[in-house]
């Protein structure tokens, strides 16, 4: 499972960012494929990107003159979220892959979560609301509309967009200023933190994860738990990279469907399922 997931992550990242001409010439792809979005966080200013970033696209719609409900992106999120939930984060996101690879570096004692996780995990909802939502409409540009998440936070844009573009394009390099250094600082901080903590950006800051997490409770792809065969050995909970209990796995908005719990279960009580009703969290009557 681990190898399959890594292979899917690598293939999807290379497949959706394979515009070699862009890397060589410091330009970006300008064809019709950019009408469509990839499911994960993938900057459309990455020189290799063939398609658009869903969060960038959402902000582009919110940045339009006058307010218009961004139906196109709402539809995209409903469609992808209802089918996959946060499976997208675990299997199809290039920045998630970057954090996964860094977390494999065998230095430091690894941590699954940051201290105050129960508060910090709401950070991604705040970022979604304040930066991708309200910030995009009016807040940060002094009532001018700017894609605030992309401009002030997005580490994926810096890593996959800015770094290769600036490396290949001299005229862009000449325009580097304080904003770039701020974003580079965020990127380096998150990359260093990823070595110690499992996917800090995904767990605490990613607005796309916040959106897909909402669909986790009813998406088509689920991790199904055969409760009657479970011996409560705890192997799945120890294997879970985001420290979820067996009752929370799949339905929790934090579950990225990485499949480590399925691999760890000695009794085959956990499996990827499609169409089965997800496990209910006790006390959750929604």
């Amino acid at each position: 499972m681990k190898r399959i997931r890594l292979a899917v992550q690598l293939f999807f990242t290379i497949f959706t960012n394979g515009y070699a001409y862009g890397y060589l010439n410091g330009k970006i792809y300008q064809g019709a494929l950019k009408y469509a979005c990839v499911p994960g966080l993938n900057c459309y200013s990455c020189p290799g990107a063939f398609a658009s970033c869903p969060l960038g696209a959402l902000q582009a719609l919110l940045n339009q003159r006058g307010f218009q409900v961004p139906f196109g992106m709402l539809g995209f999120f409903f469609l992808v979220g209802s089918l996959l939930g946060r499976f997208v984060c675990g299997w199809l996101c290039p920045f998630g892959l970057a954090q996964d690879l860094l977390h494999k570096i065998p230095v430091f004692r690894k941590r699954k979560r940051l201290p105050w996780h129960h508060i910090l995990k709401y950070g991604k909802y705040a970022v979604l609301l304040l930066f991708a939502g309200i910030g995009s409409v009016f807040l940060f540009g002094g009532f001018a509309k700017v894609p605030a998440f992309c401009k002030y936070i997005c580490p994926s844009g810096t890593l996959f967009g800015a770094v290769p573009l600036l490396a290949a394009n001299e005229s862009l390099r000449g325009q580097i200023g304080g904003l770039f250094l701020w974003k580079l600082g965020i990127l380096l901080f998150l990359l260093l933190l990823s070595v110690k903590v499992y996917r800090p950006f995904c767990q605490y800051l990613c607005p796309l994860g916040a959106i897909y997490g909402w669909f986790n409770r009813f998406s088509l792809v689920q991790v199904h738990w055969e409760k009657q065969n479970c011996t409560s050995c705890g192997a799945c909970e120890r294997a879970c990279p985001v420290a979820l209990s067996v009752r929370e796995i799949s339905r929790s908005p934090e579950c990225i469907r990485c499949g480590k719990c399925i691999e760890a279960c000695p009794g085959d009580c956990l499996s990827f399922s499609h169409g089965k009703r997800p496990n209910k969290i006790p006390g959750d009557n929604s």
Partner: protein
């Protein structure tokens, strides 16, 4: 009533249908043209210059 309860379509299917409906509205409103126009120019904000 009992039939409907037993054969109720799963929630994800409602989500997919809502998604297709919203996508259709977005396409009719030309929203993907707006996205394309933004995506084919280097986004200076995204790379930390603009």
């Amino acid at each position: 009533m009992g039939f409907w309860k037993r054969n109720r379509p799963p929630a994800w299917l409602w989500g997919v249908l809502a998604g297709i409906l919203f996508l259709g509205v977005g396409i009719l409103q030309g929203q993907f043209g707006v996205i394309w126009k933004k995506a084919v120019m280097i986004c200076m904000e995204c790379i930390g210059i603009g």
